[in-house]
């Protein structure tokens, strides 16, 4: 086995994170979901540090993309705030559960979760404009609704929220998983916002990306305060993802959605299978 020096690992982490950062933006996923299984599977770092970094990677990608999404109306602050509060509280609980569980179990569960996601991404259908029934009481009380200009349709699209109360419960589960596995949460936010809550896909994807900056902040603090964040791993990864995200936005228009989807599913499968085998002790 080739032994690399610390600075070689820093360079490799930066390059991998840069590439992941491009895909993250183009595929509309968080970042941690690609980073954590891949790096925990193939790098000789303890899972604690990879999960801590995974959260910072998702956080950094979200903070880099958030301002543009908010200014263009593709992410909605009013929609995010109540759900982010619930998710961030539960991400703290999830982080403590994750740190208390044995590493092999967490690694195995990450593998199972990521492989399931890859399958869902392959067979699942995306509904660009889901049908929304009457908004419920919570959505009315919080006045969660909005509209945006759709450049493809060249018209203003109005949106509102259904199943607001039940969605709070779903965001509690999302927060729990995000904190426990250090996966971020973009991969699960989008289907909940879109299919369950009836929000148009563009707003769901944008709001999901922005939401991560709030949800993962609280989980990231748990890992930071417990010595699970090592600058040697975290900083090149964060810089790679941020720069990759900026570059991804620039080349987004030219990229083929089908190619991006295949690439992301492939990365998920490689990382997921490797995590599962490592967790089960089959391929250490």
């Amino acid at each position: 086995m080739i032994e690399l020096s610390w600075w070689m690992y820093s360079i490799i982490l930066f390059i991998i994170s840069f590439i992941l950062g491009m895909f993250v933006v183009m595929a509309g996923v968080g970042g941690g979901v690609l980073y954590t299984p891949l790096v925990s599977g193939f790098f000789p770092f303890h899972l604690d540090f990879v999960r801590g970094t995974g959260l910072f990677v998702a956080l950094a990608g979200s903070i880099a993309a958030g301002p543009g999404l908010l200014k263009r109306g593709l992410a909605d602050l009013r929609l995010s705030m109540p759900f982010a509060l619930v998710a961030s509280v539960f991400s703290i609980i999830g982080s403590f559960i994750g740190l208390a569980l044995p590493s092999w179990l967490v690694q195995t569960l990450i593998g199972v979760t990521v492989i399931t996601l890859a399958i869902v991404m392959t067979v699942g259908k995306k509904v660009e404009f889901p049908e929304t029934k009457e908004p419920d009481r919570l959505s009315k009380t919080l006045a969660i609704y909005g509209f945006y200009y759709d450049e493809n349709l060249r018209k203003i699209v109005e949106w509102r929220v259904q199943r607001g109360a039940q969605s709070l419960l779903m965001f509690a589960v999302i927060g729990l998983i995000a904190g426990m596995f250090g996966l971020g949460a973009g991969w699960i936010n989008v289907p909940v916002l879109s299919i369950f809550m009836g929000i148009p896909l563009k707003i769901a994807a944008g709001t999901s990306k922005f939401l991560i900056s709030i949800t993962d902040s609280s989980a990231a603090w748990v890992y930071l305060n417990n010595g699970c964040v090592i600058p040697l791993i975290t900083v090149p990864s964060v810089l790679g993802v941020m720069l990759g995200s900026y570059y991804g936005v620039a080349i987004m228009a030219k990229a083929s959605p089908k190619v991006i989807r295949v690439a992301v599913v492939t990365i998920l499968l490689i990382g997921g299978i490797r995590s599962l085998l490592k967790g089960l002790g089959i391929w250490i």
Binding site: F45, D48, P67, D76, I92, V222, V235
Partner: protein, 130 residues
């Protein structure tokens, strides 16, 4: 078309992202080149990256939580300071929109913003330890 609080939130978040990116890059270069001494040399830290976090803290006497404040003259502790700033960006954004929400008399959203700030400050304080 976009509410004022959303615009202000985006503006503050943008500043946070730019400041973090620039300072992290600069400080990491300083760290890897050794221009400013690190508290724990990277080659020493690297030897323990397969260990659990508890063990690495014991073996390297690595500071946790806010302990970096007393050691901020070291390059690796500066990196902790910047990562802490990154994780506190949301608090800055929420704090900056609070006056707007109060002025608009958005009582529910004022409460939600205050609760989020409290949650983040509480978890960042390090009172909760595993």
């Amino acid at each position: 078309m976009i509410p004022n609080e959303q615009y202000v939130y985006a503006k503050i978040l943008h500043y946070c992202s730019i400041v973090t990116l620039l300072l992290l890059t600069l400080t990491f270069v300083v760290y890897v080149t050794g221009a400013i001494s690190p508290y724990i040399p990277p080659e020493k830290l690297f030897e323990f990256l397969t260990y659990e976090s508890d063990e690495i803290i014991k073996k390297t006497e690595m500071p946790i939580g806010w302990e970096w404040i007393g050691l901020v003259g070291y390059s690796d502790m500066l990196l902790y300071a910047l990562l802490s700033f990154l994780a506190l960006s949301t608090v800055l954004c929420y704090a900056s929109i609070l006056p707007i929400l109060v002025k608009k008399k958005e009582k529910v959203y004022v409460i939600i913003a205050l609760l989020e700030i409290i949650v983040l400050l509480f978890v960042s304080s390090g009172i909760l330890q595993s």
